[in-house]
Symmetry: C2
Subunit: 339 residues, 2 copies
Amino acid sequence: MITIYDIAKKTGYSPTTVSKVFNNYTDVKEQTRQTILQAAKELGYLPNAHARTLTTKKSWTIGVLFVESSGIGMQHPFFSAVIESFKQVAVSKGYALMFISKDVGGKQSGYLENCKIRGVDGVVVILSDYEDPYFKELLDSDIPCVVLDYETSQAHTLYSDNLEGSLLAVEYLYSLGHRKIAHISGGINTFAGSKRVQGYELAMTRLNLETKESYIVDSAYYSIESGYAAMVQILDLQDRPTAVFVAGDHLALGAMRAARERGLRIPNDLSIVGFDNIELSQYITPALTTIAQDTALMGSKAADILIHSIDNPSQVLESAVLPVRLIVRDSCSSVTNAP
Amino acid sequence: MITIYDIAKKTGYSPTTVSKVFNNYTDVKEQTRQTILQAAKELGYLPNAHARTLTTKKSWTIGVLFVESSGIGMQHPFFSAVIESFKQVAVSKGYALMFISKDVGGKQSGYLENCKIRGVDGVVVILSDYEDPYFKELLDSDIPCVVLDYETSQAHTLYSDNLEGSLLAVEYLYSLGHRKIAHISGGINTFAGSKRVQGYELAMTRLNLETKESYIVDSAYYSIESGYAAMVQILDLQDRPTAVFVAGDHLALGAMRAARERGLRIPNDLSIVGFDNIELSQYITPALTTIAQDTALMGSKAADILIHSIDNPSQVLESAVLPVRLIVRDSCSSVTNAP
DNA sequence: GTATAGTTCGAAACCGGTTTCGTAATGAGG
DNA sequence: CCTCATTACGAAACCGGTTTCGAACTATAC
C-alpha cells in the first residue's frame, strides 16, 4: 500500500506537506503541489479512509437502519425506493452507506453500539416498529438521525401526509357516490397506520358519514395475507360496504383477491382504494387506484437534512411532511342507483 | 470517547494488557481479565473499528456492488432479495455491508478505488451490465469478489441455471401441446439473457421444433415497456405463435398487456411463461407461470463463499450454478385441437 | 539453593494519516 | 543594509488500537 510517506520519500518533501496538498492547505507552493500530485499519480496513491477517520473523527459514512417486521428487509418496495433515492444524494456528497444491524458477529449489541463502533457520522432510520428499545437508545444518543415515516421530537423527521392521503381517498370515494366506506387499517401500532385510520375517521365525520366500528378492521401487518383476512371479515358483515379504503397496496392486493373469490367484481361490486402506489398496483387488473407517496423526494430530502445536520450540529430539529397524491386507476366505480 | 488507555489507567494495567483481553490472548491471568472487563463495562467502553482496522488491515466490511442499468437500483426485486439474504449471513459472521459506488464526493473514481480507500475485505457484485470497465478493473484486482448472475474465471461466481430454466419453460409449453413457441429475450448482452436464449434454442432443437428467427425478439431491458414493444412485434407476425416464453417477469407483464390490448385472452389465446418469479407474478390475473430462481440460496451461498475466500485467500475459485424450478400458475393452457 | 520452565505483564514500535506550531527562506519597505 | 511581514515547509504529537519481544515473577524439579 502506498502511503503519504512513500510520496514524501519520492518527492523529497515531508509527509506533512504531502498531507497538506491533499487537504487543500494554502500554505504550499503551487509547484510543489504539482510535483506531489504527479508523484501520487505515478505511485497510484490512494488515501486510507480508516487512518483519516481515526484523526479527524469523521468517517464519511452514513448508517442505514432499515428493518421491517416481516423480515423481508430490502425487498420492501417503499423502503427500498426511499433508500435508493437517499443513497444517490448521499453518495454525491461523498458519503458511503453502511447497513446497521442489531448484532455484530452473532452477539446481540444494539444499533447505537454498532453506530459508535463503526463511527458513522449520522443515521437514516426507517423502521416498521418504532417501539424497539434499541432504536430508542439510538434516538437518545447524540448521533445525528433522520427518521422516516415516524414522528418524534428527538430527531429530524420526515413523513408523508398520511392523514391527507386518507382524506383524498375517502373524499374520492364519496365523490363517486359511495356512502358505505370501510377501512382496512395497516396496524394502528405503526405510525403511518394510525395516521391513516385517523384520516379515515376524520374524513368520515367531515362528510357526515357514520363511522361504524365494524367498518374499521385492523390488520397486523402490511401483508397480502392480512389484507385477505381483513376483507373476509368485511364481506361477512351484515351491512356490506360498497367501497373499501385499504391502508396499503399489499393489503389491497389480498383484499381484492378475497373479494374476487367471493364472486365480487371490482370495481363493479366493490370499489377499492389502496395506499403507497407500489409498482405492482398499475399492472394488476383492475389497476389499483391508490395514494402515492413521493419516495424519491423523501429519500433525497432525508439526505439533505441529515447531511446538513452533520455539517451543522445545531439543536434545531427539522421536520417535514411530504405531499401525497391520489392516483386514479380502475379499481373504483360510481355507485349505481340500483338498490 | 473511552479508549483502552482509559481502562488501563483505571485498572492500573497497561494498554497492552487491556488490548489482549479483548483479543482473547491467553497470556493474561483470569483475574485481571475480569478486572479489565469489569472496568470496560463500567466505563462504557466500545472499540474503535477504524483504529483496529488501521493496524490489522481487516475492516470487517463487505462492499456491495449493486447497479442495474435502468437505475432503479435497490428496487429491483431480484437483486434486493439476493442482497437481503446475503446480508443476513454476513452480519451473523460479523461483517457490515457497505455500498460501493463509482464516484465519491461527485468525483468519478471507479469501484476499485473506492474499495481500496474504504478498505473493504471483499465485494459481492451484482450488476446488469458486466461490460463496465470499472467492474473489470475490480475483477483484475486482488480483492476477493463473488459475482452473481455472471460467469468469469477471474472470481467466484454464482448464478442460476438459466439454461435449465429455459428448457423447463419450453418443455412445459411443449407438453401442453404448443409447437409454435416464441421467445422474448431479456437482452443477449446480459449474461442471464444470453443463457436464456441459448436454452430456448436448445430446447427447440431438442424437441425438433423449428426455431424461426422471427420468433426470437430481443428486448434491450428487463422492463415492462420493453416487453410490451416486443410482444407487439410478435403479434404482428404472419404466423403467430401460440405461446411465448418471456425471459423476465417484468417483460412478461408488458407482453401480457400488449396481448390483452390486442384482444387476446391469456391463457386461452396465448400462453405465457415468465422468468424470475417476482412477487407480483402470483397476484396478477392470470397468475403468471414462471421460472423461479432461489434468491435466498444465492445470497446466503454467496456470503459463505466470499467470507470463506476472505478467511482463506487461496487461489481456487468456487463456482456454483443454482437450481431453478418451474412454477405453474394460470398463464398457460393446453393448445386446442381446433385449427 | 539453584537451574529451568512456564506464566503474566508492559515498553515500544507501528498502522496511515492530520494538525499545531515553530522556523527558515523570501520579499517588501525604508 | 536592516527590519518586518509573508510564504513555504517540516518536526513532532496525536488519533486508538495491535503485536512483538523481552523481562519479571512464579512454580517446579533436582
